[in-house]
C-alpha cells in the first residue's frame, strides 16, 4: 500500500460493530481498502452487506469501532466532531438515496448550500451552479423548491450540490435506486463526466448493475467484509 496521505481514501482494518441488546453485529469487518484520487469505484453487495456503513465511515458520518480511516490525507479517527464536519464541508460531497434536499430551500439554494457554508463569493457560486445545472439538464429550475421537482430532478440537484464545491471525494449511496433507467443513465453519464473533467473521486454504494457496469473498479462486499476487488481494464 501507498502512503495514506496520498490516496483519496484509505482504510486499515476497519470494523464497525453495533450492539443490539446482548448481540454484537459487525456491519463492517476488518476492511482495508485504498481508493486512489480520481477513481470511479462501486461498493457492491446485497442489502446488509455493509456498503452503506462503510460509506458512512469513509464520509466521517460515523466512527469506526476499530481501525483507521484517511480521507484526502487526513486521519478521521483522530478528529473531533466539528473537525469532521469541516472536513466533510471542504473535501466530501454526498449523494443520498433519498435525495435529502432541504425542503425550505430552492434548487439553486440547495445546490450552493455547501459553497455558502464555505464562504464562496455569490457570483462564483451562481456561476458554478448555473453551469452545472445547464450541463445536467436543470436549466430553468433554479427557483423551484424540491417538492416541485421530480425524483430524477431532485437527485440531479443533489449531485450538483455534491460536486459544485469541488470536493476531493463524492460518496453516493444508491443514487439511482429511486430513478427510472433513463434518469439513472443520464445521471451516471453526468457523474462520469464530472469525474473525468474535474478529477473528482466517486465512490458508490450500490446494487444497481448499471452503476457497477460504469465503474472502473468494483468492490464486492458480503457480511461486512470485502469479498472481491476488481479493476476493469
Amino acid at each position: 500500500m501507498t502512503d495514506p496521505t496520498t490516496s483519496a481514501v484509505r482504510t486499515e482494518h476497519v470494523w464497525k460493530t453495533f450492539h443490539q441488546e446482548a448481540e454484537e453485529i459487525h456491519a463492517v469487518r476488518d476492511v482495508t481498502i485504498e481508493i486512489a484520487r480520481g477513481e470511479f469505484t462501486a461498493l457492491a453487495g446485497p442489502s446488509g452487506s455493509g456498503k452503506t456503513t462503510l460509506l458512512n465511515v469513509i464520509g466521517g458520518l460515523t466512527r469506526p469501532s476499530r481501525g483507521q480511516v484517511w480521507v484526502a490525507g487526513r486521519n478521521l479517527t483522530e478528529m473531533s466532531n466539528p473537525e469532521l464536519a469541516r472536513l466533510r464541508l471542504g473535501q466530501v460531497g454526498f449523494v443520498f438515496q433519498a435525495y435529502n434536499l432541504l425542503p425550505v430551500l430552492t434548487a439553486m439554494e440547495n445546490a450552493e448550500f455547501p459553497m455558502l457554508l464555505q464562504g464562496i463569493d455569490p457570483d462564483e457560486r451562481a456561476a458554478r451552479v448555473g453551469e452545472l445545472f445547464k450541463r445536467i439538464g436543470l436549466d430553468g429550475m433554479e427557483g423551484r423548491r424540491p417538492r416541485k421537482l421530480s425524483g430524477g430532478q431532485q437527485q440531479r440537484v443533489a449531485v450538483v450540490r455534491s460536486v459544485a464545491s469541488k470536493p476531493a471525494l463524492v460518496l453516493a449511496d444508491e443514487p439511482t435506486a429511486n430513478l427510472d433507467s433513463a434518469a439513472s443513465d443520464a445521471l451516471l453519464d453526468v457523474m462520469r463526466e464530472l469525474n473525468e473533467d474535474l478529477g473528482i473521486t466517486f465512490v458508490f454504494a450500490t446494487h444497481d448493475t448499471r452503476v457497477m457496469e460504469r465503474c472502473r473498479r468494483l468492490v464486492r462486499m458480503v457480511d461486512g467484509a470485502i469479498e472481491s476487488d476488481k479493476v476493469r481494464s
Binding site: G59, T62, N81, P82, F94, F96, N100, L102, V104
Partner: protein, 424 residues
C-alpha cells in the same frame, strides 16, 4: 457573516413551513408580551397612585428633617430657620429645581384640641397655605367652608370626624394645646374656617392644619420647621434626588442637624405594600411565562423531532453540531423576538389607550379604599415607563432562549447516520 445569514434564513423558512404551529405559539407569546407590558404599566400606575396619595398626605417623596424627629416627633427636634433657609436655597438651585415639582415646609406637633363639647388628641400641622395647597390633596377635600389662605392668622382646617366629636362648625372656636419650644404647655385659640373629609379615618379624626406663622408665634419656634416635604414628578427619581440633596446639604447644614430621607424610609408600610404587590405580580408573570416557555419548547422541539433527517443532512453537508444547534436556537429566538416586539407594542398601545381616562375598578372595590393612611383611587391610570420596554423584551428573550436551548442541544447531538434512516 453570510454563514450566519443562511442559518437565519433556514430558521425563518422553517418557521414559515409550520405556519399554523408558529402562529399559535406566536399568538400565545404576543398575548403574553402584551399582558406583561400592560400589567407592568398598570402596576406602575397603581403604585404611583398609592405613592402619590401617601406622600401628599405624609412627608413627601423626599423629607428633610431633624434626624431624631421621626422617632420622637418632638418640637425640640426641628430644623432651625437657618437650616430651613439653606434647604430652600438648595431646592431653588437649577440642578435640583429641575427635579422638584413642589415643596412644603411644615411644623408638626402633637397636642390636644378642645371645645365646649370636649377634648381630643390632635396632630397639628402648621403650613404655608399656598405651598401646602400645591403639595397636598387635603385642600381639595373640603366639605364645608374653605382651605387656609395666606392672610389667615387664627384659622384651623379640621377633619370631619374631629369636628363632629368636638361639635365644631364653621367659625366655631377651639383651643389647641401643645408643648412649646420652652417645653411649657401653651394654648392657642383658633376658629374653624373649613372642614374636610380625606377618607382616611385616622386623618379625619386627628389632623388639623393651621398657618405656619401663627404656630411659630404660639410655640415660640419662630420660622423653624419640623420638616420640609419635597415632591417629584416620578417616584423612580427619588433615590437620585435623595443622593443629590444629601451631597448639596453637606456643606450648608451642620452634621446631625438635618437628614434627607426618601419615601420608602419615611413610609415603610407603603414601601412594603408596593413590594408585596410587585412580588405578587412578578410571580404571576413568572407562571405565565413558564407556561408560554413550555409552548415554545413544544413548538421548537416538535419541529426538531420532525426534521431529524434534515439536521442529519445539514451535518453531513458540513454544518458542525454547534451550528446545527444554532439554527434551532435562531428559530426559537426569532419566534420569540418577533412575538415579543408585537406583544409589547400591543401592551404599549393598551397603555396609551387607557392613559387618558384610566381603568375604572369602582365596580369591584367601591368608591375608595384606604390602607396605611393611603387613599386608593378606584380609577387606575397605567404609567408608561420606557425602561419597562427593555425589561419586558429582555425577560421574554430570556424565556425564549432558555426554552430553545433544550431543542437546540437535541438537534446538535443527533446521530447523523441514524437521523438519515429516520423516515417520515
Amino acid at each position: 457573516m453570510e454563514h450566519l445569514g443562511v442559518l437565519v434564513t433556514l430558521a425563518f423558512r422553517n418557521l414559515r413551513r409550520q405556519l399554523r404551529r408558529t402562529i399559535l405559539t406566536a399568538s400565545a407569546m404576543v398575548i403574553g408580551g402584551g399582558t406583561l407590558m400592560f400589567s407592568l404599566s398598570l402596576g406602575d400606575g397603581t403604585h404611583e397612585e398609592w405613592i402619590d396619595s401617601g406622600v401628599r398626605m405624609g412627608s413627601g417623596h423626599v423629607a428633610i428633617e431633624h434626624p431624631r424627629f421621626r422617632s420622637g416627633r418632638k418640637l425640640e427636634d426641628r430644623l432651625p430657620a437657618a437650616a430651613r433657609d439653606a434647604v430652600e436655597a438648595v431646592l431653588r438651585s437649577p440642578a435640583v429645581a429641575a427635579q422638584v415639582t413642589t415643596a412644603s415646609a411644615k411644623l408638626t406637633v402633637t397636642g390636644m384640641a378642645s371645645s365646649a363639647a370636649g377634648a381630643r388628641p390632635a396632630r397639628i400641622m402648621a403650613v404655608d397655605p399656598v405651598a401646602e395647597a400645591a403639595f397636598g390633596t387635603i385642600d381639595d377635600q373640603t366639605v364645608e367652608g374653605r382651605y387656609l389662605e395666606p392672610d389667615d392668622r387664627l384659622a384651623a382646617y379640621v377633619g370631619v370626624t374631629l369636628a363632629e366629636a368636638l361639635g365644631l362648625r364653621l367659625d366655631s372656636r377651639l383651643v389647641l394645646t401643645a408643648q412649646d419650644a420652652q417645653k411649657e404647655i401653651a394654648g392657642q385659640l383658633v376658629r374653624v374656617v373649613g372642614i374636610y373629609r380625606s377618607g382616611v379615618p385616622e386623618i379625619d379624626q386627628s389632623l388639623i392644619h393651621m398657618p405656619l406663622a401663627t404656630a411659630g408665634e404660639w410655640l415660640g419656634s419662630g420660622e423653624d420647621v419640623t420638616n420640609i416635604g419635597v415632591l417629584v414628578a416620578d417616584s423612580a427619581a427619588v433615590s437620585g434626588l435623595v443622593r443629590t440633596l444629601r451631597a448639596e446639604l453637606r456643606d450648608p447644614i451642620a452634621e446631625g442637624e438635618a437628614a434627607v430621607i426618601g419615601w420608602r424610609e419615611a413610609m415603610p408600610e407603603l414601601a412594603a405594600a408596593v413590594a408585596i404587590d410587585d412580588f405578587g405580580n412578578y410571580l404571576v408573570y413568572g407562571i405565565l411565562f413558564v407556561i408560554i416557555g413550555f409552548g415554545i419548547v413544544n413548538t421548537v422541539l416538535m419541529s426538531v423531532m420532525h426534521r431529524h433527517r434534515e439536521f442529519g443532512v445539514l451535518q453531513a453537508l458540513g454544518l458542525t453540531p454547534g451550528q446545527t444547534g444554532a439554527v434551532v436556537l435562531f428559530e426559537g429566538l426569532s419566534l420569540t423576538a418577533v412575538s415579543a416586539v408585537i406583544g409589547i407594542a400591543l401592551g404599549a398601545f393598551l397603555t396609551w389607550y387607557f392613559f387618558g381616562d384610566g381603568l375604572d375598578f369602582s365596580g369591584m372595590m367601591g368608591e375608595e379604599m384606604t390602607f396605611s393612611g393611603v387613599v386608593i383611587d378606584p380609577v387606575i391610570i397605567p404609567l408608561f415607563r420606557p425602561s419597562r420596554f427593555a425589561q419586558s423584551i429582555t425577560f421574554i428573550l430570556f424565556i425564549g432562549t432558555v426554552a430553545s436551548i433544550y431543542p437546540a442541544i437535541r438537534a446538535a447531538r443527533i446521530d447523523v447516520t441514524e437521523s438519515m434512516k429516520f423516515d417520515r
